[in-house]
Amino acid sequence: MDDLIKNVRTYRFAAGLAERIRLAEQIFRRIEPDLRIFVFSSVTNDAAKDALQEVLKAIATSLNKFQGDTEKQFWAFCYRIARNKISDHYRQQYAERFQPVDPAELWKMMEVSAQDAPISAAVRHDLDYAIKLLTAAKPDCSDLLWRHYVVGLDYAELAEERNQTYDAIRMQIGRCLDQAKSLVS
């Protein structure tokens, strides 16, 4: 069993405060990076830092209510809480996030990553293609591709997020890829 779900299950039955805090630290060190990209991809940068902290607090408060047994269920639980928190408190910033992503901004982020892992010419070429693919389509399509390929949400999670069926999301991503690829090539 993965350490994450093991810690979450242990947390549910932990009676003492010190043990709960110790487990919570381990759990949040593990989930924070994924929640960070989820939040920063959902609201504007100005609001994202506060929003992330609110999301982490909300998950911490609900941690012992999680009833699932798998890591996948736990991630669905975390994303559900994050979405609710963001839509309740950051509706305006959420709407503003749906703007076309500027490729120059994405390149800046690539250069930041290059400080630790230099970008070879071949990788630069691949990144250029990926950025074009993610930004070429219409904003709603770009957003969907972003959340699937960059944030890492699967069809089921996107279906829940958008109140659509699994198949509808799968088809929509396919159509968005068609659109993006036709504009890139």
């Binding site: 709960r20 960070r36 902290q53 293609y129 890492g152």
Partner: protein
Amino acid sequence: MAELSQKEQLALHEFSVRYRAGLAKQHPTTEQNLDAVRDAVREQYEQERAEESSRTPEPPSAAPEREPDAPEA
């Protein structure tokens, strides 16, 4: 419907990994965020304790025994 070639999938994966790394570098996990988590856990714990103690029935108090009535004359 479009499918991604392996090369395209790898390109998107590389982008995602680097974007996460860049974001983590610009906005690292702060001790502030972990403090917020610790506080939330503490508050939740105290709330649970308070709820538990309000649910626990008070032990029956030992009522003083009634003195027997005085025999009628």
